[in-house]
């Protein structure tokens, strides 16, 4: 198996679960990143806590990478995006822009991403989230299979 890391994955997962629990029990908000990110402009009225959340997320990622550099990417290894599949002759910026656009539109009209539907929605036993999770995991797996990007 390629660099399978069950221990750090589980610790990281518990931290993400705690992050969601803290926001829910403290402020009654669901930690769905596409929702927090996607409601920064008018007509949104609750911008400040979203900015605080996102700034803390970035700062903590940086801090963790300095405290535990040996975990790899972002620490001892540089973080990088994945190049488009060889043979498709699409420039990386175009590929990345299409991926970002589709993710932006999709998470807006589908109302959630891996965190909002995947973590919070499944934890709330939401049927909408279960359907969304099955669809986006399934489509992502098919996409990787078709493109052969890995």
């Amino acid at each position: 198996m390629e660099a399978f890391s069950p221990l750090t994955a589980t610790i990281g997962g518990v931290l993400i679960g705690l992050a969601s629990a803290v926001l829910w029990l403290g402020n009654g908000r669901l930690a769905g990143i596409s929702g927090i990110f996607g409601q920064l402009l008018p007509p949104a009225q609750t911008v400040i806590w979203r900015l605080v959340f996102l700034a803390a997320l970035i700062a903590a990622t940086f801090l963790a990478s300095r405290l535990f550099p040996d975990l790899g990417v972002g620490g001892t290894e540089p973080a990088q995006l994945v190049a488009p599949p060889a043979g498709w002759s699409i420039p990386t910026p175009v590929w990345v822009a299409i991926a970002g656009l589709l993710t932006g539109i999709g998470t807006k009209i589908g109302n959630g991403c891996t965190s909002g539907h995947g973590v919070c929605g499944l934890a709330r036993l939401s049927r909408r989230s279960l359907v969304a999770v099955l669809v986006f995991f399934g489509v992502a797996i098919i996409t990787v299979t078709i493109t052969g990007i890995v």
């Binding site: 518990v14 990110f37 934890a123 797996i141």
Partner: protein
């Protein structure tokens, strides 16, 4: 407004901080590691990386108990209501949206959380992804009928 009170914003900061630390420690900030989970063609050859499942399952479990705990309470600590989505219907918009997101995720190995946390490392071309994510998100708003998003997210 209580929303500007220090405990409320400190809670948002603590949550964001835990989230960012979790994404780094689990290495979900690495788009290639995410793609190695999504690459099911590697299962027969032994090259598959199941780590992502070991991230999301404990995250769901912790949140599951938090939600159960909250059911017995009238309100969260620092607000007057739990902002739970009211909309229950499984409609075409949900399916199409999730499918479009699935394509974008499978193309890049990046979903919105790691996209934001990667700002800590500023890899090449990340800003292009973020601008596109932003534009896509607001373009998507135009496709959602007015009031719908509000009912869904119970956002305000």
């Amino acid at each position: 407004m209580h929303r500007l009170h220090l405990p409320y914003l400190a809670t948002a900061a603590l949550s964001g901080g835990l989230f960012g630390a979790g994404l780094y420690v689990s290495q979900m900030v690495d788009p290639l590691k995410v793609l190695r989970f999504l690459d099911f063609t590697a299962i027969p050859t032994g090259g598959w990386d199941p780590s992502l499942a070991f991230v999301i399952v404990p995250a769901i479990l912790v949140m599951f108990f938090a939600v159960r705990f909250s059911r017995a309470r009238a309100e969260p600590l620092f607000d007057t209501t739990f902002h739970e989505p009211e909309y229950q219907k499984i409609d075409r918009r949900l399916i199409i949206g999730a499918a479009l997101f699935g394509v974008g995720w499978g193309m890049s190995g990046i979903c919105p959380g790691p996209a934001i946390s990667l700002i800590a490392f500023l890899p090449n071309d990340l800003w292009i992804y973020l601008v596109a994510l932003f534009i896509g998100s607001y373009a998507g708003s135009a496709l959602v009928p007015s009031g719908h998003a509000k009912r869904l997210a119970n956002a305000q």
